[in-house]
C-alpha cells in the first residue's frame, strides 16, 4: 500500500482543513474503500502510539513522585524524631551546663579553695592590736589594703622567724587577687620548707594556684604527689580533686573546647 498517496488527504481531514464536499467525499471513501479505511486506521494508530508514549512518560513520572512520597517518614514518626531531638538537646545542654558549673578550672578551684587559718587575724584576738609585722600585714589585707599589706609583708627579712609565714601570706594574697604567677613565685620555695606543715600547705596551694592559672597538667602532678603521701594533711582533698580532674564531665568540656577550660 502506498501510504504517500493517502497521507495528505488524511492529514487535511484530521486537521479539519477539507471543504464540506471534500470531507463528504473522503468519508464516503473511508466507508467503501478498504485501502483508504486501512490508511486512516494507520494514521490514527500512529497518533495513538505517540499519545500512549506520552501517557507512559507521565505515568512513570507520577509513579516516581509517589514512590518518593512513600519513602518519606510518616508524621507521627517525625514527631517522635522531633521529641527525641528535643530530649537529646535538653539532655546535652543540661549536661554541658552541669559540667561547666562544676568542672571548669575556676569551678574546681573555687570548690577547693579555703582561706588558710594563717591568714585569719582573729588568731590575734578581738580588739587586740597587731603586735608583729606579719600581723600588721595580714590586718592590712583584711582591711582590703592589698598594696599596703604586700609592702608590709615584703619588709620581713629572711632572718625573721616569721619570714616563711609572711611569704606564705604573700602567696595567698596574690592567689586571692588572681595573680597566679606571683603567687607561684612565693609558694614554690615554701614547698621545700623545713616546716613539714607549712610545706604541705604550700604544696596544696601550689596545686590550686596552678589550677587557677590553667596549668592543669602541672596541677595534676602536684596533686599526684600529695595524694601518694598518706601522711599528707591534704592527701584526701588532693585525691578527690585529682579524681575530678580526670572524670568524664571534665573531659566533656576539655574535648569540646580543645583546651583546658579556664572559664
Amino acid at each position: 500500500m502506498e501510504l504517500e498517496k493517502y497521507f495528505d488527504q488524511l492529514d487535511a481531514y484530521h486537521y479539519g482543513r477539507l471543504t464540506g464536499a471534500e470531507k463528504e467525499a473522503l468519508e464516503s471513501r473511508l466507508q467503501s474503500d478498504p485501502e483508504w479505511k486501512e490508511a486512516w486506521n494507520l494514521y490514527r494508530l500512529s497518533l495513538a502510539a505517540l499519545e500512549l508514549q506520552q501517557d507512559a512518560t507521565v505515568r512513570k513520572t507520577l509513579e516516581k513522585i509517589q514512590q518518593e512520597k512513600g519513602r518519606i517518614t510518616p508524621l507521627n514518626r517525625r514527631l517522635m524524631a522531633v521529641a527525641a531531638a528535643v530530649i537529646l538537646i535538653v539532655c546535652m545542654t543540661g549536661s554541658w551546663w552541669y559540667a561547666w558549673e562544676n568542672y571548669t578550672n575556676q569551678a574546681l578551684y573555687q570548690a577547693n579553695y579555703s582561706v588558710p587559718a594563717e591568714m585569719n587575724p582573729a588568731r590575734m584576738g578581738a580588739g587586740e592590736a597587731a603586735s608583729t609585722t606579719l600581723d600588721r600585714g595580714l590586718e592590712a589585707f583584711q582591711n582590703k589594703e592589698t598594696e599596703q599589706a604586700v609592702e608590709i609583708l615584703e619588709t620581713i627579712s629572711p632572718d625573721n622567724p616569721e619570714y616563711e609565714n609572711a611569704r606564705f601570706a604573700l602567696g595567698q594574697i596574690f592567689l586571692q587577687t588572681g595573680k597566679a604567677e606571683k603567687a607561684i613565685q612565693y609558694l614554690s620555695p615554701l614547698t621545700g620548707s623545713a616546716s613539714t606543715a607549712l610545706a604541705a600547705k604550700a604544696e596544696w596551694y601550689m596545686a590550686l594556684t596552678l589550677l587557677q592559672s590553667g596549668k592543669s597538667n602541672e596541677c595534676v602532678e602536684w596533686l599526684q604527689k600529695i595524694a601518694s603521701d598518706p601522711e599528707h594533711p591534704y592527701q584526701e582533698k588532693a585525691e578527690e580533686l585529682w579524681r575530678k580532674m580526670d572524670n568524664l564531665w571534665r573531659k566533656l568540656i576539655t574535648s569540646f573546647r580543645g583546651t583546658t577550660p579556664t572559664r
Partner: protein
C-alpha cells in the same frame, strides 16, 4: 561535639522542613504556587517542567480527598480512589496536551470532571478483569478494560511502544512527540532548529509516514497497539 550538633541539626532540618515542604504537606502554601496557565505551560513540556507540575498536582491533598469521597459514594475503596486519581492525572495531562481542555472553567473543575468520568467507567467495567480485544478493526473505542493507563507501566506495553517509536530517528521521534503535544510547526521548527516552518512540516510528514509504514508492515504490533488504544479510550470516554 560541635560537628555532631551541626550534622544532627542539618539532618533534622532536611527531614523535617525540607521534605515537609517538598512533599506538599503544606498544601495551602504550595498550591498557591502555580496558576492554571502556568500549570498548562509546564504540562505541555516534558522532563523537569512536567515533573514540577505533577508534583504540584499530586500534592493537592484536598483534591485527593474530594476524589476519595466521590469514589466512596460509588461504593469504591481507597485503592479504587487511588487508581482513579492516578489515571485522572495521566488523562488530565493528555487532555491538556491534546487541547481538549478549553480553559473555560478552572483546571481543577476539568480535572474533577475527568475523575467523575473515570469513576463511572471504572465501576461500570468492574467485572471485566481480562483483556477482550475488539473484533471490529474500525471501532477503536470498544470498552473492555478496567484501569487501562496502569497498563502503561507493564513491561510488554512499554515494549510495544518502544518497538514502534524506536523505528524512528531520535529527531523524528522528538518532532512527532512535540507535534502530538499540539506544538505549532513554528514552535517545533524553533525547538529542533529547522530552517523554517515548512521544513518542519515536511519533516513531520516524512516521519509520520515512516511510522505508519512501520505499523502497516507489522500487523501484530499494530493489533497490540490498537488494543492498548481501546483500553485507554474505555477509561477516558
Amino acid at each position: 561535639m560541635a560537628a555532631f550538633f551541626c550534622v544532627y541539626t542539618a539532618l533534622l532540618e532536611k527531614f523535617l522542613i525540607f521534605d515537609y515542604f517538598l512533599t506538599r504537606q503544606h498544601t495551602i502554601w504550595m498550591n498557591g504556587m502555580y496558576t492554571d496557565d502556568q500549570l498548562i505551560e509546564l504540562i505541555r513540556k516534558d522532563g523537569d517542567a512536567l515533573e514540577r507540575a505533577l508534583r504540584h498536582l499530586n500534592g493537592d491533598k484536598a483534591f485527593r480527598e474530594r476524589v476519595l469521597q466521590h469514589v466512596v459514594r460509588y461504593g469504591g475503596s481507597r485503592e479504587d480512589a487511588e487508581e482513579i486519581y492516578n489515571s485522572s492525572l495521566v488523562t488530565l495531562v493528555s487532555g491538556i496536551r491534546q487541547q481538549h481542555y478549553a480553559q473555560k472553567g478552572s483546571l481543577h473543575a476539568y480535572w474533577f470532571g475527568i475523575c467523575k468520568g473515570l469513576c463511572s467507567n471504572h465501576f461500570r467495567s468492574k467485572g471485566f478483569k481480562q483483556l477482550v480485544p475488539t473484533e471490529d478493526e474500525h471501532a477503536l473505542d470498544t470498552p473492555n478494560w478496567e484501569t487501562p493507563d496502569r497498563l502503561l507501566l507493564k513491561e510488554e506495553v512499554k515494549t510495544i511502544l518502544l518497538d514502534v517509536l524506536s523505528q524512528l530517528s531520535e529527531k523524528c521521534r522528538e518532532l512527532l512527540l512535540l507535534w502530538s503535544k499540539s506544538y505549532s510547526m513554528s514552535e517545533i521548527a524553533e525547538a529542533l532548529n529547522y530552517a523554517d516552518e515548512d521544513s518542519a512540516k515536511n519533516r513531520r510528514r516524512n516521519c509520520h509516514l515512516s511510522l505508519m509504514k512501520y505499523l502497516n508492515e507489522h500487523p501484530m504490533i499494530k493489533q497490540e497497539l490498537k488494543d492498548l488504544w481501546n483500553w485507554k479510550n474505555t477509561s477516558t470516554n
